[in-house]
Amino acid sequence: MINLSESELIIGLECHVQLSTLKTKLFCSCSADYRELEPNTVVCPTCLGLPGSLPVVNKEAINLGLKVAKALNCEISDKIIFFRKNYYYPDMPKNFQISQYDRVGGIPLGRDGYVNIKTDAGERTVRIRRIHLEEDPARIVYLGSISTSPYSLIDYNRAGVALLEIVTEPDLTSDEEAHIFLKKLRSIVEHLGVSDGGLQGSMRCDVNISLSGGKRVEIKNISSFKEVKKAIKYEFLRQKQLIKRGVIIEQETRHWDEVRKTTVSMRSKETEQDYRYFPEPDLVPIHISGEWINKILANLPELPEARKTRLMTQYGLPTHDAEVLTTSKALADFFEKAAELYKNYKNISNWLMGDVLRNLNELDIEISESKITPELLVSMLKLIDEGVISGKLGKIIIREVIQTGRDPRILVEEKKLIKISSEESLNLYITQVFQEYPGAVKDALKDEKAIHYLIGQVMKKTAGRADPDILNKLVRKKLAEISSSVQ
């Protein structure tokens, strides 16, 4: 979390969300499923920009764009118009990108929306300036690093895949808020079924950041929402240092270096007017009728806010639990699947919000990347309920379940983690401890604290496997025996 005591931080985001649930690209019928393919295998005359080819817009892409615009409370324009953004770079083989524009007669698909986010300081509204459709550029491969490579190799498989650009107003004031907003945005698009944030590069972000009313610096090339927080933190510290030394921050575009975790000046020479935007003459306007919008509204799936409320009523979860679980579609899905198998809903929620999320954070993975399933979590909860293992041991084996996906029952047997509740076995440990700590035994005859100390020592000897209730009973019993024999 950034300390804002000295400087006022203002952040606006430009998010690019791939409409990854589409089967085809935005303007041609090539498969949009380009990941892990040989280079240049899903390309055609249109997405290669060959002469004589014509783009035709994918109707489903407009449907998905409208869904997002509605979910983000945007005003929707009555027609869709595409523009050419001209720039000379081989990631777009036509030398322009087909995008949308909000000037010279252009209008974005959606505008003037908002998203409410929950921060430590309470509810905040983040305004959405605009949402528009555009095509994803190709992937460029460099030999070694971008600065030493003598040439570039281009794979046009990604070129033409449908992207939704979502631009916020500069309403965010910390790295943490930006992160919360992006998580919420991801949860919304995943609930809508328009994008899978778990796919590499499916959600990218440019960040506009300024300090204490200084000039705006744009950071490009942040390839995942996770990295955004790090980039903001770095850029904040960099600008703060400069201001401290009396340097004036220039307006510029910087590049996020994911390997070195720093921002680097890009020296971009192109300005907005250099893009020479003009209406794409190869595409015709698409009119959005009231009927079309109504159809979208009628088929809008349950969104995170509504799901939160439902989790509270259907499972009796507290507000906080329902909020945390719906920050991610995968997490909420996990909860509901587990709830079909196990009826102590609050217990599932406690484990998910506590030990599961903590371990995922430590491992820096998402629940979809982990090996734990609702079935495995429930299997472990039942082991605890049945008294086979203690809750404390559950906390230890859950990490292994997350990493390996192995059945907790088998893990417990293999590791001999089963709880010791036999009085005979426990008494052996107790006798040992009493022999090793005669001083503590003496104290324990009158001091409650020393009793806890002795219990702790037995726990340690059994690697936490002793049944705490029986152990407590036996230690007190033994102390009572000693006490009566002394008298």
């Binding site: 280079p39 295998t41 817009v57 015709v284």
Partner: protein
Amino acid sequence: MSELISRDVVLHVAWLARLFLTDEQIEAMTKQFNEILSYFRKLDRVDTSNVPLELYVTPLKDITREDIVEASLNPDEALKNAPKREGKYFKAPKMM
């Protein structure tokens, strides 16, 4: 004929296309740009004060396609016209 396009603008436009022109080429381009723009200036004589802004000249509208995959080019065909290639990649100069 008043100059509409300066030599600097021509240089800038050339840079946007990453073209590097000789002095003679710059001069020739500046002349041609100005000739073309002067010719189009004839349109300024038409009174358009009552004509609404229209981005399209065709009456066509609402043309979309369904989200159904069709065959792509085979990779050899896709790369056939590439001036340079390396393996299955297009090869291009590194851009600034």
